[in-house]
Amino acid sequence: MNVAAIGKGNPACRQSVTRHRNIYIAAAASALLLLMLLPMVHWIFLNETEALFDVMKLKASAVKKLSGSYSVFTFLSFVQDSKQGVLGLWSFILLMIAAASAAFHLWGLGLFFLRKKAAGGKGMLPMYSRIQSGMLFSLLLSAGTLGLILFANNHYGMAGFRAGAPVYASAAVSVIGYLASKRMEKDERTLRREHGFLEEVRRNWILFLFLVPCFVFFLINNYLPMAGIYFAFTQFNFRDSLFASPFVGFKNFEFLLHSEILHLTTNTILYNLVFIVVGNVLQIFFAILISQVANKYLKKTSQTMIFMPYFVSYVILRVLVFNVFEYDVGLFNNFMTSIGSPKVDFYNTPSYWPWIITVFYLWKNIGYGMVVYLATITGISSDYYEAAQIDGANIWQQIRYITVPLLKPTFIILLLYALGGIMKGQFELFYQLVGNNGTLFSTTDIFDTYVYRITTTQPLSMGLGTAAGLFQSLFGFIVIILTNFLIKRKNPEYALF
């Protein structure tokens, strides 16, 4: 709905003038805050540098690299150059907050300039929400900077750091911007019959209650430990302990450049794509097949049997596979010899292994994945089939037009889920089947096996492992955001979030 579309003389119109003013105030605040984040705006100033560097025990060579004042972004390089790991985590968090606030401001301003309204009659509400988040993060950034300065001065026992004017300015502007935007949002909500968080809690408190255990769990098990992502940027040592070890920037990511990263990435992705596509197709195929079999006995036993490989551990599988494919006495070559064919040298021929690995992956996982589809098929109401039969649909048509479409949501969820881990390989599978056999690496080396080798060569390489994991995560994250976006545009029902 367009603001102009509301007729003059209407009370809503007077409201709209205020709203217009407020919206410009908020946008201007956003823009101002963004400008203040620019690297040339300095937030943190050093006091009594000589005494401070003395306390930090800096060498003259290190002092040369340092300057008197820093922005939020460049402060980390101060931490790195002056080897003050103690300040690393705090500055890193500031950087994250700064990045978040910049992202929200940009997003909000983008929506402002495009005047793009959300689907579902939410009007400009999304824009307000982004701008408000941006404002909150800006405020948090100011508070965090002051906190950092307090912490540092306390740590070094002297007033070595002080906050620049932008810190206070940013705080003030963000408060004004927040209030302005909050005001508009309230109006817009009344207009759109939308409600805020508190209202939602009041209405659906029981749903929130349902979520409490889940919230507690993920907080403890996942979100709090995420602090560890910071380790990707540090060089751990016991003396300085976990969160005060030297900050080293992107040094831990260097090994990615030293490796054949492109080759590893393609290997990992190709294997995963094959696993996902072929795996799901076979799972669906056999799930339908089982659901079609009339003989109850066959139906039950075959299902159990197909599930069984799931229980064979990879350690055992490794022994079995070696016994089959070994050159001299392996079962396969024994068979080849007995029919007078030449032996096959599996363990020195990389080209066989994509097949072998894929086959064993499928073999192990068909039963597990099939259960999901079987359960879904079981859940399909028989009404559909009865109706189809009355219309004279044959068995193929019933599968084609009823079963398969109804399996689609499940398939898409499984697909989306798998895509997020597209850079995460089946480590156990590859490691156990191939082992450390370098001859086969050209076709069997995936990201995880590579990282495993690297980290076992370097004890205490916590930073390296975290860096590798972060790379995989970012990759998966981008893939999943894109796919989810595309699917959401086509059919929001199928989207993951």
Partner: protein
């Protein structure tokens, strides 16, 4: 559920044959494992594996059950972890999935995202370990062994799909018009039709717990709290350790597990869960139809 088949017996036979072949392929290695576990170790090392045991012997099982109280304790703990983890986990997963399946819940996408996000990003093993070992101080407790696997994001999302599939919006809406709250809708309308979903998710949850050794390895300070899988896995690993330390330390290598013992272990560990499977299976084959649409 079953679709009436009009394509005749020939088709039936093809289906049967296909399924039988796949089943045999899947079960073959398992037979090898079982017969290997009843073969003497010397025999396996000299002549490799075979489909039928050569020179039937149960000595591998003898080795495993030499100290029956230990393995029984491990079994007990495994049942304990599996039961508590599956029961509690299933409840929480279903509640969560119900919430994010409700269209009228404003933050369902945000919550789904936050749950999914944990599968992509993580702080790594060490912060996770420190959280339980140092911050919560749970090292050596059984809580540390079952709690960290209580909710699997994948299963939450899967359960949401099952709920969406099994309970049409119209049903919930009409219940609401009748004055039913979420509590009532969840227990009276959603749960009763969620059979296959609960069975699937419960099965996966139980499998995850049954097969876990990692948390026992990380957080146990005494063999009293070991899960069965870890009890067995650790026996196998001691062999590997001997190799790694080969050059440096001299270790008593008398009771190292042999090939046949490894195989026997995998039989011992798998048995109970395989018995459980057919029990759950009836939810996938007996054709419980979802009647909610008619309701």
């Amino acid at each position: 559920m079953k679709i009436r088949d009009r394509s005749g017996r020939g088709f039936d036979i093809i289906k049967g044959i296909l399924l039988t072949i796949l089943s045999l392929l899947c079960v073959l290695p398992f037979i090898v494992i079982v017969s290997g576990s009843f073969t003497s170790n010397q025999e396996i090392i000299r002549n490799g594996f075979s489909l039928l045991p050569r020179g039937f012997t149960a000595e591998a099982y003898g080795t495993i059950f030499k100290t029956p109280e230990d393995i029984l304790q491990a079994y007990k703990m495994n049942f304990y972890y599996t039961f508590i983890g599956t029961a509690l986990g299933l409840i929480i997963i279903t509640l969560t999935a119900y919430v994010i399946s409700r269209k009228e819940f404003k933050y369902r996408n945000k919550v789904s995202f936050l749950i999914y996000f944990t599968t992509i990003f993580g702080g790594g093993m060490i912060p996770w370990y420190l959280m339980y070992a140092n911050v919560l101080n749970l090292r050596g407790t059984t809580l540390a062994i079952w709690f960290p696997a209580l909710i699997t994001p994948f299963l939450v999302i899967l359960m949401r799909t099952f709920i969406v599939g099994a309970v049409p919006d119209a049903v919930v809406e009409s219940a609401k018009i009748d004055g039913a709250g979420h509590w009532r809708i969840f227990w009276r309308i959603v749960l009763p039709v969620l059979g296959p979903g609960l069975a699937t998710v419960g099965l996966f949850q139980a499998l995850g717990y049954w097969n876990d050794w990692y948390r026992s390895s990380m957080f146990s300070t005494s063999s009293k709290t070991w899960s069965l899988q870890f009890y067995l896995y650790d026996l196998v690993n001691s062999t590997q350790a001997m190799r790694q330390m080969a050059q440096y330390a001299d270790i008593n290598t008398a009771d190292l597990p042999t090939q046949s013992v490894k195989l026997a272990m995998s039989v011992v560990a798998t048995g109970p869960i395989l018995i459980l499977y057919p029990f759950v299976q009836r939810y996938f084959v007996s054709g419980i139809t979802v009647g909610a649409v008619k309701g």
